[in-house]
Symmetry: C2
Subunit: 180 residues, 2 copies
């Protein structure tokens, strides 16, 4: 399970699905649910979509281009994890979902246009905290980051029923917080 599994085609297949997955899960749910969080300093599904939008705008593809054009000589800009609270973003969930989908589609078009080779995937850049990283690691992280937030959103939604499931909370890891 922990050996290298990354293939570019698989990664793109997953990245292309995420906007529609989140759209299907969230669009049309009552607003109390999509704006609920897990307590102070935690994110609602609405916040998470804003974070994903910001990643499309400033993080993933820009870093791909830095690696290809400047390599290790140009450290990546730091990714502002709180940008969705600071910058102007669509104010309705539906508009955020639309914007995320449009940006992802455009970024995957730009990625395909780069016609990355296996040798390209070994090219390196410089992360502000980690130092040298490869393009392959960056692309794998883009995928895992999507899945991290699908996981988070389903957990945040599920936990809103913590006070409703009665004794079943013992069986529900989404509520108990246990892994497994």
């Amino acid at each position: 399970m922990s050996g290298p599994m990354f293939e570019l085609d698989d990664a793109v297949a997953l990245l292309a699905r995420t906007p529609a997955t989140l759209d299907t899960l969230l669009r049309g749910l009552p607003e109390w649910w999509t704006t609920a969080n897990e307590g102070p300093d935690t994110w609602s599904p609405f916040d998470v979509i804003g974070h994903l939008i910001h990643g499309e705008e400033t993080d993933w593809l820009p870093r791909v281009k830095i690696i290809l054009e400047q390599g290790e000589s140009r450290t990546f800009d730091k990714f502002n994890r709180e940008a969705q609270f600071e910058t102007s973003q669509p104010r309705s969930l539906g508009d955020r979902l639309d914007e995320f989908a449009a940006l992802r589609r455009e970024n995957l078009r730009a990625l395909a246009a780069l016609r990355l080779t296996a040798a390209d995937l070994d090219r390196t850049g410089r992360h502000p905290a980690f130092g040298v990283v490869t393009l392959r690691q960056l692309l794998a992280t883009w995928v895992a980051h999507d899945l991290d937030h699908v996981m988070q959103i389903s957990r945040v939604l599920g936990r809103q029923y913590a006070g409703d499931v009665g004794p079943w909370r013992a069986y529900l890891r989404v509520i108990s917080g246990e892994q497994g």
Copy 2:
């Protein structure tokens, strides 16, 4: 966050979304990914869809009917969490996704036909381990159980890249296993 939030319409809205959410996420992904798990005695996304099918067939709506028809006098049958490994189920992921969607659609039609009232939601049944539970708790658990497994599937998919993300694993809760 832990007060009672359950409303029947919201619950149905979520339950109706789950098959399409999982279809969008999983259909067409490479088979190595949808059949990968987290190690011995853990489930792949393919296994989870089998578990969800079995729940539609034997667990959720049958228990609703037991509560309405027999109340606490008839203890629920135990839910076999391993049935997807023991009973005959579709052998392709696409067929399992189709079957889950069809069963869920049918069960939500049957649920709507019951025209449950607020008083009905307070009716009680008997769980084999927990004792007395309410219909409201059962329905809330159906929802949270869906979200638990969306969370699990996204985690299992993400963890397959544990060996590919390099130093970013420190930031990815889907891989590190940390909450938050």
